[in-house]
């Protein structure tokens, strides 16, 4: 057949313009050798060229608290705000600023709202932590609390996209896609970038939050389900043995390889790798998700109830994933959107988060894994923070606030940062950091509060 007949218009133009289809498709193949070579290259170049900051982390766990957790109820203690509770917000603080839901925030000129949570200081650095995170009292010296992160966008979906990709419009690669594109993954049996979901619904924006944008799709995040089995269709249909499955995948891949040669479409290379990965996951994923080998003590530490999908279970899964060489694990937990509407209570949302976070860290230091925490970067945060004004719905909560954004807390950075409002480039980098700690102090006099009824 005439080879031109097999080439689509899109691929013809792409190949004319760049002519790198072949080399790119080799690049995204997932053979152990190429992955190892890429890791070695990165290590070598850091030694020879020398970064100003020596990279140490090998894996990332990014816990995304979807909805926008209230900094004022968790880490950011503002006594002045408590003093000003019930006073109208000064014009100087809101002049020229935009907030989401202008109506509900300004209909009856909302007033300042001091936190109703109890705060206390913990650890060597005297970090303030609220009663909602009781387990953090014990580990607070090991986390860096960044209070100066700000963002540009105040609606959930674009704000999430901005945190993940650096752009509020979709089409750009997410952080996990960049990381696995840059340095590959050490796991050959599981995807390099895994997304774990929990809570009443998926995060706003959905799949674009972990998309690969213009990078090959082999780098996109692979989402596990939030209910039922984490992965569906893992077992072959009745009557199809592993040998039959293997023979089928061999035939499919061989035919796809012919198609790749004929069209030069790099996406077919991804398809071939993903069928290989699917076959491997039929064995590796049940082993990964099987928690029967975990001790009751570990399950209690995380707050996992056997057979019940939860954020806690995802935290444990995240640990198991990075133990198996997965490069980037992102957890999404809903719903942190504590406006004060029905069911939007911080208590309900923060409880599993509180326990699991401490479990996450403590387990990594426990006897079962002796690897130092610095090999894993743990990031915690949402898409924005909450306003100092109260918002009256069913109960009083807080609105979205872009200037006091997520309390990112990279555990691996603990030697460098204390827990106060240092000017730090958060590891959740696409967002910009605010200028000084004074601004952050002033601005974060917010508070939210959750409804009194749950």
């Amino acid at each position: 057949m005439d080879p031109l007949l097999n080439i689509t218009r899109r691929h013809f133009f792409r190949n004319c313009a760049v002519g790198v289809g072949g080399s790119r498709s080799r690049r995204c193949s997932r053979t152990p050798r190429s992955a190892r070579r890429r890791v070695q290259t990165v290590e070598l170049s850091t030694q020879t060229r020398g970064f100003h900051l020596q990279p140490r982390a090998k894996n990332v766990i990014y816990m995304f608290m979807a909805g926008g957790p209230s900094q004022l109820e968790l880490f950011d203690y503002k006594p002045k705000l408590i003093e000003l509770n019930g006073k109208p917000i000064p014009d100087s603080m809101i002049a020229g600023k935009r907030f989401a839901f202008m109506d509900s925030s300004f209909k009856d000129r909302s007033t300042l709202l001091g936190t109703r949570r109890k705060f206390a200081q913990y650890g060597k650095h005297g970090a303030w932590v609220s009663e909602l995170f009781p387990h953090h009292a014990k580990i607070v010296d090991d986390i860096a609390i960044v209070k100066t992160v700000a963002t540009d966008v105040f609606n959930h979906a674009p704000a999430k996209l901005f945190m993940n990709t650096g752009s509020a419009q979709f089409g750009r690669p997410s952080m996990g896609a960049w990381v696995t594109y840059g340095i590959g993954s050490e796991s050959q049996n599981l995807p390099g970038f895994v997304v774990l979901l929990s809570g009443p619904r998926g995060p706003r924006g959905g799949a674009v939050n972990w998309g690969s944008g213009f990078l090959p799709t082999v780098h996109q995040g692979v989402p596990f389900r939030s209910s039922g089995d984490p992965i569906v269709n893992l077992s072959s249909p009745d009557g199809i043995s592993p040998q039959h499955q293997r023979a089928t995948i061999d035939a499919v891949n061989a035919l796809n390889a012919k198609r790749l040669a004929a069209t030069g479409d790099a996406e077919i290379q991804t398809r071939i790798s993903q069928y290989e990965m699917a076959f491997k996951m039929q064995t590796s994923a049940p082993e990964l998700c099987d928690l029967t080998g975990e001790s009751q003590a570990t399950l209690d530490l995380y707050g996992v109830e056997r057979g019940k999908p939860s954020y806690a279970q995802n935290c444990l899964l995240a640990r198991r994933l990075i133990e198996r060489g997965v490069r980037f694990v992102q957890l999404y937990h809903t719903n942190w959107d504590s406006h004060g509407g029905p069911g939007e209570t911080l208590e309900k949302t923060s409880k599993p988060a509180a326990r699991s976070r401490s479990g996450q860290r403590r387990t990594r230091h426990g006897p079962e894994t002796t690897r130092p925490a610095r090999r894993h970067l743990v990031v915690w945060g949402g898409e924005f923070g909450r306003t100092p004004m109260g918002e009256n719905r069913t109960s009083t909560g807080r609105n979205h606030h872009i200037e006091a954004a997520p309390c990112g807390s990279p555990a691996a950075a603990r030697n460098r940062a204390s827990s106060s409002a240092k000017r730090t480039n958060s590891a959740s980098a696409p967002s910009k950091t605010a200028a000084t700690s004074t601004t952050s102090t002033r601005r974060s006099c917010t508070c939210s509060a959750s409804s009194t009824r749950s």
Partner: protein, 167 residues
């Protein structure tokens, strides 16, 4: 969370509704059908001007192992087996053309014929597996082995990048 944002459970339809095109199925904006979610369909709450590219091992698992896809494969197998007076190669070519709108190249045909031969040997000697693949309504013995082998060939064809991707 407001109305329409709660999780909805998907149940397999019964009777003739089961065979209706997905196009006519009611969707729920906060609860995509699991298969759609696997294929990273956009969240129906946010405007979507363009689908993202998406290609994951979970999609491969869905196309290979989902019971609906097994049923599609079985039906395609039955359809080519029911065609009168065709050789194996002609039947493979027919299935291939139905899926991809083109005739297979000789080497492609050969590859699929190889798969058919291997599967036929296996399933003719294993009645239990053959019956599980071919479905309860298929007849016993050699016939079931044949349907099972053809089902696997049809399944391979339905899993081709060319079948599931529209350029």
């Amino acid at each position: 969370m407001g109305v329409g944002q709660v999780k909805h459970t998907w149940r397999t339809s019964k009777g003739e509704d089961r065979y209706r095109r997905g196009l006519y199925t009611f969707t729920f904006r906060a609860s995509l059908h699991p298969s759609l979610a696997t294929f990273d369909a956009p969240d129906a709450i946010t405007a979507c001007t363009r689908r993202i590219r998406s290609n994951t091992p979970l999609q491969a698992l869905n196309l290979l192992n989902d019971s609906a896809w097994m049923e599609f494969s079985r039906s395609l197998a039955q359809r080519v087996l029911n065609a009168d007076g065709l050789s194996d190669e002609q039947r493979i070519a027919m299935a291939f053309r139905l899926a991809t709108s083109r005739q297979p190249q000789p080497d492609e045909l050969q590859l699929l014929a190889g798969l058919l031969k291997q599967m036929r040997e296996d399933y003719r000697s294993d009645a239990k597996d053959a019956k599980a693949v071919a479905g309860a309504e298929s007849s016993e013995g050699e016939k079931a082995g044949d349907v099972a082998a053809w089902t696997l060939v049809a399944r391979a064809i339905l899993n081709l990048d060319e079948t599931i991707t529209r350029e």
